[in-house]
Amino acid sequence: MDNFQMIVLLLDATMRTSTPLILAALAGMFSERAGTINLALEGMMLGGAFSAACVAYYTNSHWLGLGAAVLTTMGLSLLHGFACITHKGNQVVSGMAINILMSGLTALVGIALFAQGGKTPALDHSARFQPITLPGADAVANVPILGSLYSELISGHNILVYVAFLAVPASWWVLYRTRFGLRLRAVGENPGAVDTAGISVVGMRYKSVLCSGFLVGISGAYLSTAQGASFLSDMTAGKGYIALAAMVFGKWRPFPAMFACILFGFLDAAATRLQGVILPGIGEVPVQLVQALPYILTVILLAGFIGRAVAPKSLGRPYVKER
């Protein structure tokens, strides 16, 4: 296989690995832009993946699975909101609680329902999201370079991949070009001013966590019914935290966050391919180093060595009306 083909395949894999990251990073952004820290991405993703796999298995419909995933994660978002917004509980603690709870609950219910050690049964073809061949992909497949880029890289993914990449401009538009987005960002920076303008801070924050839940639900469904064919216990394996890192890395903005997700997705895709490969001039690359790179890069960024990541001003602070 020539180098060009290999790079195309690697980028192709990057598209698939970065999809759940992009959705989850956008989810985190909606919540955090409005001032609610969302550490619960990992747990919500897990819950979404589990519901999607279960419902898709029983109904044989991936769309119903997706719906169930979104409902689950929006429910979890409400729980997070109930603790953080209504009761002004600690947002970090609430997020960790949801992560731990879902890690246990999905495994427990999975065993109770299917008795397969926490797995769900493998899904049929019809119960999964299938690759879509974009128009003209087959026709241009033989055109050198551009043709194979189109047919291999752009075409042939399932619909959720396209949804994830389209969600980026959509989120940008919502956040920066609509009244809703302006209010949402204002709530995260200066809730007092928003309150003075007669807009409910609590209402806005609830809406923002619901947006967050909606998006992370899709990423959960992607893991178990599009990329994979069943739910495995702890199948998110830290993806929620990587998405969180990507969101921080992208400085709480949609497009930079997407690029961070693509970078982290690329590292993930490269790590699996670099296992035991000896690169000329470098020697064997420790796979663990490649796997740890997203975290190391994020720490370096946070330390202020690659520009400055400034969080929304009221992030993590519950809004108290009278002081």
Binding site: L39, L79, A83, V93, A97, L101, A112, A115, Y295, V299
Partner: protein, 372 residues
């Protein structure tokens, strides 16, 4: 919140946390019912599994040891207003310190080794906590995010070291060589045997005693030293601390390093006391349980001891449970743990307004009666 009155201490640290805990257990009971099992039966098996026989008590206290260390670790950082989510990673790296000391200084006599191992665990754990602490104190990066990142970095680093460096030649399993028998921590049942007391064998070892010592030391440190005072001041109000001449950055770093050292001590129990070698993922989530333990124990060493005991009981009882009822695995304990963090941590204020209202009404009635 101007019209509310101060609740008395017994409600604040007694009744309210208890109500939250009961709520967590009630929801856990509902979960058990939802998967078609009988909650009272589950409670009976768990209690028997945790305290029903001598060996079980040993196991319960062995788990308790881990939770005391991780709970104390989280609490010390919390007193400085910091969320150290990185206890897990710090304990993992602390294990590296213990292992390196025990493997490469194996000519030391045991009493010296004991001190060296404690120092190594503290040093490695504290070092791993230092970087996030420094970044928080001096460059303003949020400690929650950096410690989460450091957990993952620790995990990758340790896998690399275990696979490529520490694994003995010819071995296929990624774990370190075994620690010399003379250098491992004595089991409590063996120590009891020296005095002619017969005890069932269990993994409970000397580190349990050290955990209790640490409880006392942390209590002395936080409430009876000027550093502890400074740390609490920084945690309560960093701006006020600055005005009082306490430099927050210094105490943020101090609190995090002590937190890291306490996390590292968990490795004494696991690596030097029980496994006698460094295993992949030996921390097994105990660091995260520490969050629940500290929150439930209200960040006070005595409270931490009690809640560590409760979690020790849950872990050991949960192990028994998975033998008796195959549909309920250890994951049930994880669920309970999540619910406890949710109810006693995130929802800690849920009952407060109502309880305050009831208490105020009760006091008012008493006063009018006294007046009459």
């Amino acid at each position: 919140m101007s019209d509310s009155i101060q609740l008395p201490r017994w409600i604040d640290v007694g009744v309210l946390p208890l109500m939250n805990l009961v709520l967590a257990f009630l929801i856990s009971g509902l979960v058990v019912m939802a998967i078609g099992e009988n909650p009272t039966e589950v409670v009976r098996i768990m209690l028997y599994g945790a305290f029903g026989y001598e060996e079980a008590v040993g196991y319960t206290l062995y788990y308790t040891t881990n939770f005391i260390f991780t709970g104390l670790a989280f609490a010390v950082a919390f007193h400085a207003g910091l969320f150290n989510i990185g206890v897990e990673g710090q304990a993992y790296v602390g294990g590296l310190g213990v292992t390196l000391a025990a493997l490469y200084l194996n000519w030391l006599p045991f009493p010296v080794m004991l001190v060296v191992a404690i120092l190594a665990a503290a040093l490695f754990g504290a070092a791993w906590a230092y970087i996030p602490a420094y970044l928080q104190a001096r460059r303003g990066s949020h400690v929650v995010i950096t410690t989460i990142m450091f957990n993952f970095i620790a995990s990758s680093l340790m896998v690399y070291l275990l696979v490529n460096v520490l694994r003995p030649q010819g071995s296929m399993t990624p774990e370190s060589a075994a620690i010399d028998e003379n250098l491992t921590l004595p089991y409590i049942h063996n120590m009891a045997a020296w005095f002619g007391i017969d005890m069932a064998s269990s993994p409970l070892n000397l580190s349990f005693v050290y955990a209790l010592v640490c409880c006392v030391l942390v209590w002395l440190f936080i409430w009876h030293t000027r550093w502890g005072y400074a740390i609490r001041t920084v945690g309560a109000n960093a701006a006020a601390a600055t005005f009082a001449g306490i430099e927050p950055g210094r105490y943020i770093i101090m609190a995090m390093m002590i937190s890291g050292a306490l996390s590292g001590f968990m490795a004494l129990n696991e690596v030097m006391g029980v496994q006698h070698r460094l295993l992949i993922d030996f921390t097994a989530g105990y660091g995260f349980v520490g969050i629940a333990v500290a929150l439930m124990g209200r960040n006070h060493p005595f409270g931490i001891f009690l809640s560590a005991l409760l979690f020790g009981m849950l872990y050991q009882g949960g192990a028994e449970l998975s033998f008796e009822i195959p549909t309920i695995t250890n994951d049930m304990v994880v669920v309970i743990q999540g619910l406890v963090i949710l109810c006693t941590g995130a929802l800690e204020h849920m009952f407060r307004p109502r309880v305050t209202k009831i208490y105020t009404a009760w006091r008012l009635r008493q006063k009018t009666q006294e007046a009459a």
